[in-house]
């Protein structure tokens, strides 16, 4: 302490004191990711009425210009778009299609994220597939060379002219300019199929919907709306199944996190697909994220939160957590069966989960409430999608921080 004071005194004599901000001890501390209130009394604050408290907002800051690529694989009609809205919601801002461009563009961008739909890399349009007798699931109808080139270019910070596959007309429309975002999300049928593309992806997510649930969801989607018959829905699933099993399903072995949606075990013979058993399968030992756990990491826990502390309506909620192996790899599995009716249940469960990557107590619940109109908001699909979204943020922060430290 004495030595420090002495040097300060010497420098003070030798040269004019440097400005406060330039001295090592007074360097501004790095701004943390949590938005903190500033206590400076600005004019705006003085005039602010006491009753108006700003809602708590987490702002993720772009720490470097490194682009993080997140991949999401799932079949059509499995809730990819809902999932995308939950993930982009965590990074803030409303994702919008590119302004003034093609009205049928599949791209959505917000301040931090850009979501591109891999259907844009179809090499054959609808007519071409019909003539060749292949589905969109088959790798022959996908241009992986262009996909690799453009994802690589976007990751390097370049702008690309990306084609647009028009889902209404089934044609490949003229390309649109896509600029490089902070977070690039590629979603579609084949994000991990091609090894070159797979290597560019930093975080891989797979939505695995069991056949029973897929059937139930498509009935809800198509039968009431469009008057499809039960037979036509069944025939559609059956016809696409060989290609799905051959090309799409094997990608889940490469995923870092898998959300598996299964029929409930709480109610015998539940056919509507309303009550779900949802499993979040998380690879262990990954550098970029830590798996979520319930009570005690590495143990096997079965937990029914309903009881004296929490009243649940039929059929209640059942949680499960434990280690497992998935295609020969060590994983942690978190499972939720049943659905919640009230907010208390969610915050009660959130308080017993650890390593959720939340920035403050209750963030998961807050995110779920914000998106309460989305499908799956009252069961494990919404809960686990939100948790995976928080993990995406953690992956982003770990990658960008690492780069900052190296520079």
């Amino acid at each position: 302490m004495a030595a420090l004071q002495a040097t300060t005194a010497v420098t003070a004599m030798a040269a004019p004191r440097p400005a406060m901000a330039q001295r090592a001890g007074f360097k501004a501390t790095p701004v943390s990711a949590i938005a903190r209130p500033t206590f400076s009394r600005t004019l705006a604050q003085r005039s602010m009425k006491a009753g108006r408290v700003q809602s708590r907002v987490v702002v993720v800051q772009a720490a470097s210009d490194k682009v993080v690529v997140i991949g999401l694989a799932a079949d059509s009609g499995c809730g990819k778009s809902t999932f995308m809205r939950r993930v982009t919601g965590i990074f803030g801002g409303e994702p919008k299609p590119p302004a003034g461009g093609n009205p049928d563009s599949n791209t959505l961008s917000s301040e931090m994220t850009t979501v591109i739909c891999l259907d844009d890399y179809h090499s054959l349009d609808r007519n071409g597939r019909k003539e060749a007798g292949v589905t969109a699931l088959a790798p022959e109808s996908q241009n992986f060379d262009l996909m690799y080139e453009q994802v690589k270019a976007l990751k390097e910070g370049k702008t690309v002219a990306k084609p647009i596959y028009n889902h209404v007309t089934g044609l490949l429309d003229p390309p649109e300019d896509t600029t490089s975002p902070n977070i690039l999300i590629i979603e579609g049928l084949h994000p991990f199929y091609d090894d070159r593309v797979n290597e560019l992806v930093d975080f891989r997510i797979y939505l695995d919907i069991s056949d029973e649930i897929k059937f139930a969801w498509k009935i809800q989607r198509d039968m009431a709306e469009r008057g499809h018959s039960l037979e036509s829905i069944k025939a559609s699933i059956e016809a696409r199944k060989p290609d799905f099993d051959a090309y799409i399903d094997p990608q889940k072995k490469k995923a870092d996190m898998i959300i598996q949606v299964l029929p409930t075990q709480l109610v015998p013979d539940e056919k509507e697909g309303k009550i779900l058993r949802v499993r979040l399968i998380m690879k262990d030992g990954m550098k970029l994220f830590d798996p979520v756990y319930l009570f005690d990491q590495g143990s096997t826990v079965s937990w029914i939160p309903c009881g004296r502390k929490l009243t649940c309506s039929f059929p209640g909620i059942k949680m499960f957590y434990g280690p497992d192996t998935y295609y020969g790899e060590e994983v942690s599995v978190l499972e939720m069966d049943g659905q919640f009716d009230k907010l208390e249940e969610l915050i009660y469960m959130e308080s017993h989960l650890s390593n959720t990557s939340a920035k403050f107590y209750g963030e998961i619940t807050q995110q779920m409430l914000k998106n309460s109109a989305f499908p799956g908001s009252n069961n494990g699909t919404g809960l686990f999608q939100t948790i995976v979204g928080l993990k995406c943020r953690e992956v982003y922060e770990r990658i960008t921080e690492k780069t900052v430290a190296r520079v």
Binding site: V168, R226, R240
Partner: protein
């Protein structure tokens, strides 16, 4: 924009016809078209759905984007 309901009906009809001869590539491709159109219709519907809160309704939001000075659209952020 959303695909027309007639287009989906036609696609279902085509698929049923092309599958009459058993499970071929054409049959799978035809049902894949049905799936693609149904998904596009479902997405279009999800995007246009009005909220249950009349003030959050999409039509109100669009109106207020065009006419922010109207009394029902004014928001003072003080």
């Amino acid at each position: 924009s959303a695909p027309k309901p007639e287009a989906i009906e036609q696609a279902v009809k085509d698929a049923e016809e092309s599958c009459a001869g058993g499970a071929t590539g054409e049959c799978a491709a035809a049902w894949d078209t049905v799936e693609e159109l149904s998904a596009a219709a479902a997405h279009a519907k999800a995007n246009s759905k009005s909220s249950t809160d009349p003030l959050e309704d999409k039509r109100v939001n669009e109106y207020c984007e065009d006419n922010p000075a109207e009394p029902e659209c004014r928001v003072y952020d003080d």
